[in-house]
Subunit: 243 residues, 2 copies
């Protein structure tokens, strides 16, 4: 079923009035009066609507049911990634939105090769990728994509979550599964993954001092754009949000 977020929509007295880009989209999809679509408020609520009229000015639809969006996980996972090169950011955003992330943040760390340039433009583009993926996967929110600044900024975000997990590929670590399985009921998780070159040892020490769990995902070395998706999937699985 066609799915929209409410940016261009007003709901008034049981009717949804849609203008602008989304209304154009309804016309492009050639939806006809009597056909159903979902308009989501971006806060986890779906308005199931039946199209009444779509003309050049606006789209009108009758609200026939209001439900909690079933696709939203019970746990809010913030995915924080060391800024990778090129379009790996896009891939991370798209896949993490599909897999159920609450938000995606990038940050600068010691071994980042990519430079945070033109961030305003990039953040705009990243947010559009998130919106597209959210629509396509049936999400009830549009996960926010943002810039956490430097490594300390990322840590600051992570320590505010109930469970903070720092994925690292060497040294003394806890098993990710053990940490997740003993925290099945947490409501917020932060997952930190590094850029192409991984984290510096001192960054790992800092993360540990800050109270994050330094975790292993096994002996296979995951690319920097794969690790966040795998870690997020594990978190969804462990908290019962993958079924």
């Amino acid at each position: 079923m066609a799915r929209f977020f409410m940016a261009g929509t007003n709901i008034l007295g049981g009717m949804a009035i849609m203008k602008g880009r989304d209304a154009d989209h309804v016309r492009v999809l050639r939806l006809r009066p009597g056909e159903d679509m979902i308009i989501c408020d971006g806060k986890g609520t779906d308005y199931k609507c039946r199209l009444v009229k779509a003309d050049k000015e606006q789209v009108e639809a009758e609200v026939i049911e209001v439900v909690k969006c079933p696709a939203e996980p019970t746990v809010k996972v913030s995915v924080l990634c060391g800024l990778p090169k090129g379009d790996k950011t896009d891939y991370i955003i798209q896949k993490c939105v599909e897999a159920g992330a609450e938000e995606i943040m990038f940050f600068q760390s010691g071994r980042c090769v990519a430079k945070p340039q033109n961030m305003e433009k990039k953040l705009e583009r990243w947010q559009r990728i998130s919106e597209e993926a959210a629509k396509q996967s049936g999400r009830g929110i549009i996960p926010q994509v943002s810039w956490a600044g430097d490594f300390a900024g990322a840590l600051d975000v992570a320590v505010k979550k109930e469970l903070g997990i720092f994925l690292y590929e060497a040294g003394e670590r806890e098993a990710l599964s053990q940490v997740l399985d003993s925290s099945k009921d947490v409501k917020s998780i932060a997952l930190l993954t590094g850029p192409e070159g991984g984290f510096e040892e001192f960054e790992t020490k800092l993360a540990k001092i800050a109270g994050l769990h330094i975790c292993s995902m096994g002996e296979r070395i995951l690319r920097c754009e794969t690790a966040p998706v795998v870690a997020l999937t594990a978190a969804m699985y462990a908290t019962g949000n993958l079924a």
Copy 2:
């Protein structure tokens, strides 16, 4: 540490003699005598070697340790995907090799838009992608990429595994987590995912009759190139291979 598969290597009396493409690669990496590298036999065994000599003809290295490759999971997961369009195949191969697949197979199903053309060339290219990803992620095997033929061919592969899972996005399904959690000790799993348009209803019926578990991964709709990676990660997590 530099990592090679044994295609161009002979191990004789405690010495590894490497020729051809891999020997060229050693020279490109400018490895010097005394430096260590791993030569993997592609069957799960790693030969840790110390470089003795690298000249134009061949590379010679002393075998200093023989160990079981630590990156190989304890469960062999066959990932079977309805043939998707474009380079989504490449993405599926790369990510599933990183995530621990034993093999990746594509098949033709009712809603496949992509056509299986030039398969010989494609399989060659896919196998190279698998090899690259296997090296990069430290795998002990190069997962085979192959063509399963039609839907019946894919089912035929799946039913021979201890646990066969068919991922489907609608109707009556078991929770993936429930099926996996009650089969923690299986040694072989098949995961079937559909092409862009998903599976036909009759294909789902066939899969059920064939004895596969029809499973849900929750209410978020995953792209056809995301679903195999997420399902594989769940299988690795559930069987203790993600830590």
